[in-house]
Symmetry: C2
Subunit: 415 residues, 2 copies
């Protein structure tokens, strides 16, 4: 297998789309033939979030694969927009950060990024460098290359416009600023989640207007939360942070929905394409039990962010704890629909107690456990994401396996 | 009549709309009571056009009326947008001018403006003063106060969006820049044509966001060309320039369509409201012949831009020439539909010659006249606007009065 074929096999693994594909392949071949320098592969991040979970890491890991083949990772810190925020003050998703906060967040973020990316070839740029000095005349130039109709084709804008939800004109500028970044760094390829496709393509238009070769656009699928909900978010307790300790990471991975095991293996681990395909085939025809595939996923994740030894140790400890907890094989499964659960209600719904007062008494006695951990606060509330896949226990003999109602949906994207 | 009542009578004469009217009246009363300084009355002009015709002058003359009552005329020269133009280079209506061109145009324009405005109280500002230094962060702030849906309600945008004609996002910024001017000069009132209503109202929103009292908006009707077409434009030969010499101005005014006489008197001359109303009433019931009303209009216009004496002289000369030309009272009227007329075709259509060769022969003999002027070029072409209302003559006895087809329409606005 030639180097370019290997690159194509690795780099296209798990991707949602590459536009235009022919051009992408042509550029890889040109680099291999020494006809052009290594590709400049752009990925932009928003310094308002500082905790990276395996969902965020999907694109970062793809970026690391480009580095592996000698291409330059160009990581853009969106310092400008974070500092400007939403000037109308209406949007909670665009808080205004001070220059110091941006720097602090970026540092915290970059420390985590380095768990995924290689140290070289790596270029880290803050878009304050070119956006802060833009004048009104520059903005008019920037905005003259995109039409209102085209912007309103972006699915979220289209939905809001149809629903008569106000869209500030400033919101039309943000995608163009992101596109402007591609011009500033002369990106050959830009990576992003599928929800970013429109913005990434906007970069092509601006680059053409600036006389540059337009970038290729490579998008990765968004990854669902452990509980299967579309929104993966720390506040829902349905994700795995890349800095979680080994035991925590392993335990969380063991809670992933059966239907998501292959997707997680493909997008969140370094398991080679052929092995993932093999696991998928064996799961499909029943030769592989989902629990064993999940153990593989949990081991791969811990090995990736900690070490193979840590992965083995986490697995051993998990197995011991599971046995020690003495959870029988045939415990009942309780399907939960609500988003938030007050502990006494949860215990009653799971039919582990007969009354709220019994629930509170059992908690007071230290007889209630969630995944082996003793619960001491009878007034606690739990997110469904946290409960999904967990084992709830009262005393030594009463158990219930909790499962979130699959019919729930969420459309907020990969937060 | 109290001073404020007089102001209201004069200032509201001929206006299309005042929003909000109560607030407008309240401010005039506050000024009269010494509770606030004289009003700052803004009018913005585009330094790409340099020749002012009576259509442009409608709003300028309203501005001069405010000056008469002691209010400050704040004339904004749109130097910034003229210098930026349309950065995509696609729009002929937004040519990019150099700083020198802007200055030269503005000087030429201001020389004409002074024929209408008083020297004081007058403030002339170039919006380069505050727009040139705007940063991207400022633009994001500006654009956060207006929604896409609201902007798409502007009739021209609505029509283009519906017709799938591209609208660049930069075009959404221009109305906001004009609105930004109102903040910069702390406008109490902004004047404009009815086609500017949306932009003027946008100024209110930005002023409120900036913690200022939002301006009142006073719009004037657009005035049709002499030939009744919606677009008054020098290139159509259907307008009267305010720097035209007295004889020219008088002659052009005598060509105005009968149905427009009252509108011209009301919007383009200083004739008091009561007199215009009286003329309108007498025209309506036949006590006044349109020709006499037109003579009044022509005199008023020349008196306004030259002097009463010049007006009388122009009238006398016009009458003499008319008699000398010996145009009978009962000459036939020829209705013309085409926009451009090749002289031989015109002569044939008017049945003044029987062939193209006769037409050319008559021109060669110096026997063809348009409004008394000998035509010497048999290959000349004329705009319908120029021909409308004119008298075409061949030899001593063949005449035709030319009239543009009333059913023609044009929707280009007041250019």
């Amino acid at each position: 297998m030639s180097d370019v074929d290997e690159q194509l096999q690795v780099l296209t693994h798990g991707v949602a789309d590459i536009q235009p594909y022919d051009e992408f392949e042509r550029r890889l071949r040109q680099v291999a033939a020494g006809e052009r320098p290594p590709l400049r592969v752009k990925f932009g991040i928003d310094p308002t979030s500082t905790d990276i979970h395996v969902g965020h890491a999907v694109v970062l890991r793809k970026l690391a694969e480009f580095q592996r083949f000698g291409h330059t990772a160009v990581l853009i810190i969106g310092g400008f927009t974070a500092q400007v925020g939403d000037p109308s003050g209406k949007s909670a998703t665009r808080p205004r950060l001070t220059a110091e906060q941006v720097t602090a967040n970026a540092e915290k973020y970059l420390a985590q990024v380095r768990l995924v990316l290689r140290d070289a070839p790596l270029e880290i740029r803050d878009n304050r460098e070119w956006l802060a000095e833009m004048t009104l005349a520059d903005v008019l130039g920037l905005t003259s290359h995109m039409t209102v109709a085209r912007m309103l084709e972006r699915s979220d804008f289209a939905e809001r416009y149809a629903a008569q939800t106000p869209i500030a004109i400033s919101e039309f500028l943000y995608p163009l600023l992101q596109a402007r970044d591609s011009v500033a760094v002369h990106a050959d390829v830009e990576l992003g989640g599928t929800d970013q496709t429109f913005n990434l393509l906007a970069g092509r238009g601006l680059q053409e207007a600036a006389g540059q070769e337009p970038q290729c656009v490579l998008t990765m699928p968004l990854i669902e939360g452990l509980d299967g909900s579309a929104k993966m978010s720390k506040s829902y307790g349905n994700t795995i942070g890349i800095t979680d300790d080994a035991a925590d990471m392993y335990g969380k991975a063991m809670r992933v929905r059966d239907g998501l095991i292959v997707k997680y293996l493909r997008l969140a681990t370094d398991l080679p394409r052929a092995e993932v395909d093999d696991i998928a085939a064996r799961l499909a025809d029943g030769r592989l039990h989902p629990r064993d595939a999940k153990r593989r996923l949990a081991r791969e994740l811990v090995a990736l962010y900690h070490s193979p030894d840590a992965a083995q140790a986490a697995q051993d400890r998990f197995d011991v704890q599971f046995r020690e907890r003495g959870v029988p094989d045939d415990i009942p499964t309780v399907v939960l629909a609500g988003e938030r659960w007050f502990l006494p209600s949860l215990l009653q719904t799971a039919q582990l107690v007969t009354s709220g007062s019994e629930a509170r008494r059992m908690v007071a006695q230290g007889a209630v456990r969630l995944d082996g951990e003793v619960l001491t606060d009878a007034t606690a509330e739990y997110d469904l994401g946290r409960l999904d896949g967990s084992v709830l226990q009262v005393g030594k003999r009463r158990f219930a396996r909790l499962q979130a109602d699959n019919s729930r949906t969420s459309v907020d994207g990969n937060g």
